[in-house]
């Protein structure tokens, strides 16, 4: 009989998360020889080292650039459709959120239990509030 680990119940959430952090982390992977994605064989207890200060600064530079693009996009109001602006802005906000969470909060390298709980909170919040707003005829 297999004994489920604490995380089996939340395994699905991890996939969604790995997708997010894997994508935006990809550009900076060169200096990181570690495994790209936790494979099924990876032991939970292997903690990869925290990023170096140089990597932190690089992430901050990316965050600055994205913020600059965000503000620029917000000034295109009237030139391009509002819906497109909203999509672009939300996309960039998610990107920034994921960058900070993955690198500065170390979700990328820490044990997956943390990001599972955090992502659980985020997803739960999004689902219940979107449904509540839908029943209040916002959309």
């Amino acid at each position: 009989m297999t004994e489920p680990t604490p995380e089996t119940g939340l395994a699905r959430l991890e996939e969604a998360e790995a997708e997010v952090s894997g994508r935006d982390a990809g550009t900076l992977r060169r200096s990181e020889p570690g495994p790209e994605r936790p494979g099924p064989q990876r032991r939970e207890r292997e903690v990869r080292p925290h990023p170096t200060p140089l990597q932190y600064v690089l992430i901050a530079v990316i965050l600055c650039v994205v913020t600059a693009i965000e503000i620029a996009v917000s000034y295109t109001e009237g030139d391009i459709p509002d819906a497109l602006i909203v999509v672009l802005l939300m996309g960039m906000a998610v990107l920034k959120f994921a960058l900070v969470a993955a690198w500065f909060m170390h979700l990328r390298t820490d044990l997956p239990i943390f990001r599972r709980f955090f992502v659980l909170g985020i997803i739960l919040a999004m689902i219940v509030y979107v449904i509540a707003l839908a029943t209040l005829n916002v959309f």
Binding site: A60, S74, A93, A101, L136
Partner: protein, 219 residues
């Protein structure tokens, strides 16, 4: 054998008779107690801010009287303060990196820098609130006033709590009571601080950057 255990901000020694706080491998999941508790708290706080943001979205553009966001927002100014808060996340991780390699001098510098950047953000928020107030927006002016002030106000309260926390750590570091082995304390504070930052990333986009609804009365 030494028996004093690490204390954390609002936390206690991890385990009676043992001190897994020092050695994450001593816990059943392999993660330190305080860090797990902080992440659960942050997950819980997602629901907290989510409710305020949902309320803001629900009432967006429903006002019958102004002033609304179109007249009030000063995007360059708020962009600047948002940028400052974003950069405080960088100084925060640099403080963590410093304590992890035992560089106490840089730890103090970066902790203080983070707190000061946070304080600058709060100062900007106070200034913004005062400006809006002068232009006729209060908590009881319209729904925009209610939702805007409460959402950003509670975020500001979180930042303020974070500043107090960071200054406490800075005080401990100045007395030499924050050593390399205490890096978890800085890490936990950092998690809180980054969370406040990412919440602002969302708030900044949702409130300030997206195209604003037409001004009340203007159609």
């Amino acid at each position: 054998m030494a028996t004093i255990e690490q204390t954390t901000e609002i936390g206690a020694p991890a385990h009676r008779g043992a001190s897994p706080g020092h050695d994450p491998h001593a816990t059943a999941t392999g993660v330190p107690n305080t860090k797990l508790a902080m992440w659960i708290f942050l997950a819980s706080d997602c629901l907290f801010f989510g409710a305020f943001i949902a309320t803001y979205l629900l009432y967006r553009g429903r006002d019958k009287v102004g002033p609304g966001p179109k007249e009030l927002f000063d995007i360059p100014f708020t962009s600047a303060t948002s940028f400052i808060l974003l950069m405080s996340s960088l100084t925060m991780v640099l403080a963590l990196a410093a304590i992890q390699r035992g560089d106490e001098r840089r730890l103090r510098i970066w902790l203080l820098a983070t707190a000061l950047l946070g304080a600058t953000f709060i100062a900007g928020q106070v200034f913004e609130f005062t400006e809006f107030n002068h232009e006729g927006l209060n908590l009881n002016t319209n729904l925009f006033g209610s939702t805007f002030f409460i959402l950003t106000g509670f975020h500001g309260a979180h930042v303020t709590a974070g500043i107090i926390w960071l200054m406490s750590l800075w005080g401990m570091a100045s007395q030499g009571r924050l050593k390399q082995g205490d890096s978890e304390k800085v890490e936990i504070a950092g998690l809180y601080w980054h969370f406040v930052d990412v919440v602002w990333i969302v708030i900044f986009t949702v409130i300030y950057l997206v195209p604003q609804p037409a001004a009340p009365g203007g159609g």
